[in-house]
Amino acid sequence: MRFAKIIYATIIKEWLILRRDPGGLLILLAMPALLILIMALVQDAPFRDYQNLQLKILVADEDRGTLSEAVATAFHKSPGIELLDSVEGMPLSPVRLRQLLQQGKYKIGLIIPRGAGNELANAANSVANSLSASMSAGKLPQRAPRDSMNIRLLFDPTTRPAFHLAIHAALDKAVSSASMQVLMNRLNKLAGNKQDTTSQERWTAMMDALSIRDEQTGTSMANTQHLNSVQHNVPAWAIFGMFFIVVPLGGHIVREREQGSALRVSLIPGTALGLAIGRILANTILCCLQFIAMCLVGFLVMPLVGLPALDLGAHPWAITPVVIATALCATAYGNLIGSVFRSGIQAVSFGAISIVILSALGGIWVPAEILPKVMQGMARCSPLHWGLEGIQNVILRQGSWADVVLPTTMLLGLSAILLFIGFWGGKKAEESF
């Protein structure tokens, strides 16, 4: 009964102190909310798939043959890509296209040289002739291939490498498709078949017979989410904000020691454990409330600034143990910082900087998957990594309760270590009263 009373009294005391500390509340609520909003907006473009962006590709088509048509058809099927063969009413020449790219007005340019279609036809004739020779069929006109014939793809230097690859692949596919079609036409001609719409439809059907479809892992396909700016930034920066409890909590513990109130309560018999639990509980609850507030920003504020709303996935309640364990870990870290450091400035400075470092290691700034191998190993030491991993398992990978067991266990383990060191540091600090 007395134990519960100590815990209750400490929670009330911590709540009153926090409520009357506008600076602390600002650090815990307003700043993370602002951070989430700004980071989500800033990182929105980099997180978008290239398909979602409106790309204008300049085309200087000097050939105007079947190859040009095939390329145009292929890109027209890609949503968000627009081919421009004239700018300001003037047809594009290779020189004008280069000028526009150099001015940075456009990002990508395509030059189809004169004779490219003929070169393709010549290559197809060559293949068809070699096949017909074995079948004693006719012969099509053929000349030696020209080495200098290339379709040229030009990029503005600021274009992301991912776009290079994507456009290059799309163009490659268009050229392959056109080559195959020309070859089939040539073979038909040698065989004496008539070119009609039926054979054209057969060709199209063959090309579409085996296509590639993107699918995501997860138990509920209906709720499958792409990684977008909101889905990454809201949980990531909410976790970052939770760990910023270190600043007010660490500073508060040092202040209590400096002011002597820690000494006073340490002289009350049988209170040590209750006081520690009360403080940890109060701040853990606060961190959980803070996470809920940040999720509300994700649900309600993000759509107001043109971003998608946060989606917590198919099993939203499964993030509960991860959030509680993250909050506990953040509080345990704040307790440790407050117990180990002797001055408020030391505690606050170290606490803040260490959170920034741990967040960078833990994949808050950029996903840990793209970090070097060594850094990925180090990320596992960061509690922020496990917090983010657990939440992303639910909201991105559509995981359920089973998928948060490992991150939650890791967070609880780290919390236990931090609490132990903090308790030991607190004992040492008592000797300096």
């Binding site: 005391k13 002597g260 009350i268 049988g270």
Partner: protein
């Protein structure tokens, strides 16, 4: 004769310090007395208080409170002990009453006990009108008075005060001193450290002058004044035993 506090040959050295903080200190504090622990800076007063409160262990010697060894029975002793630290050991963001309510709950007092005792003590020390004001808005003297009240809420038998009148106005000092005398009349034992010799001479039944970790004189103020040659005040006795050199 039994004593509330009995200290014998207490020694304590801090790591890295060239001289020991306590070098065989012995003293005894009778029940229901105001006992002045006096000495220059660095004499060993705070170290003695820390050992008596169980905050640090002594290297050797014994400290006994209420007949119980301080190092072995601290949980039992803590309940009978009230410490008024030199710093204002309160939560500035809480009101005076909230501070007392929190501490009362930690002492496992009932809400009624907390309310009654807070009211009585605040009335006695002139803070009843400021009970709902945040401590950060208290004056220096008000903070000192609340600091004392917070140490008396659980009605300890022994009250240890570390410079309770430092930096307070004349009115607050007078109120605090008369209150300490009232506590003594209620049977409480009071150990009191101060640099104010006049104040100690006025309220202490017994004073103990310590210097360089040793007791250099103990007795009633009048006794010490009369037995020390050329001394007319307790301050003269103090300077006689501790010298005139500055201690920082």
């Amino acid at each position: 004769m039994s004593f509330a506090i009995y200290v014998e040959k207490l020694c304590k050295s801090y790591p890295g310090a060239s001289v020991p903080a306590l070098d065989g200190l012995s003293l005894s504090v009778p029940y229901s007395e105001i006992f002045g622990l006096l000495g220059p800076n660095g004499a060993g007063k705070t170290t003695t208080i820390k050992i008596l409160c169980g905050l640090i262990p002594a290297d050797s010697g014994t400290a006994t409170l209420f007949g119980l060894n301080a190092q072995q029975n601290m949980p039992a002793i803590k309940g009978k002990l009230g410490l008024v630290p030199q710093h204002i050991a309160l939560y500035p963001a809480l009101t005076g009453l909230e501070n007392l309510r929190y501490l009362g709950r930690l002492y496992n007092l009932s809400e009624t006990q907390i309310r009654q005792r807070s009211k009585n003590l605040m009335e006695r020390l002139g803070l009843e009108a400021h009970a709902d004001k945040r401590v950060s808005r208290y004056s220096g003297g008000m903070k000192r008075r609340l600091n004392i009240i917070a140490s008396l809420l659980h009605e300890p038998e022994l009250l240890i005060l570390d410079e309770p009148t430092a930096s307070v106005d004349v009115h607050s000092r007078a109120l605090i001193l008369s209150f300490l005398e009232e506590c003594r009349s209620q049977g409480k034992t009071i150990v009191y450290t101060s640099h104010q010799m006049e104040e100690a001479e006025q309220i202490c039944d017994t004073v103990c002058i310590v210097d360089e970790g040793k007791m250099v004189a103990q007795g009633s103020p009048q006794e010490l004044i009369s037995t020390t040659s050329g001394c007319r005040r307790l301050e003269d006795v103090f300077l006689y035993h501790t010298g005139h050199s500055l201690r920082d």
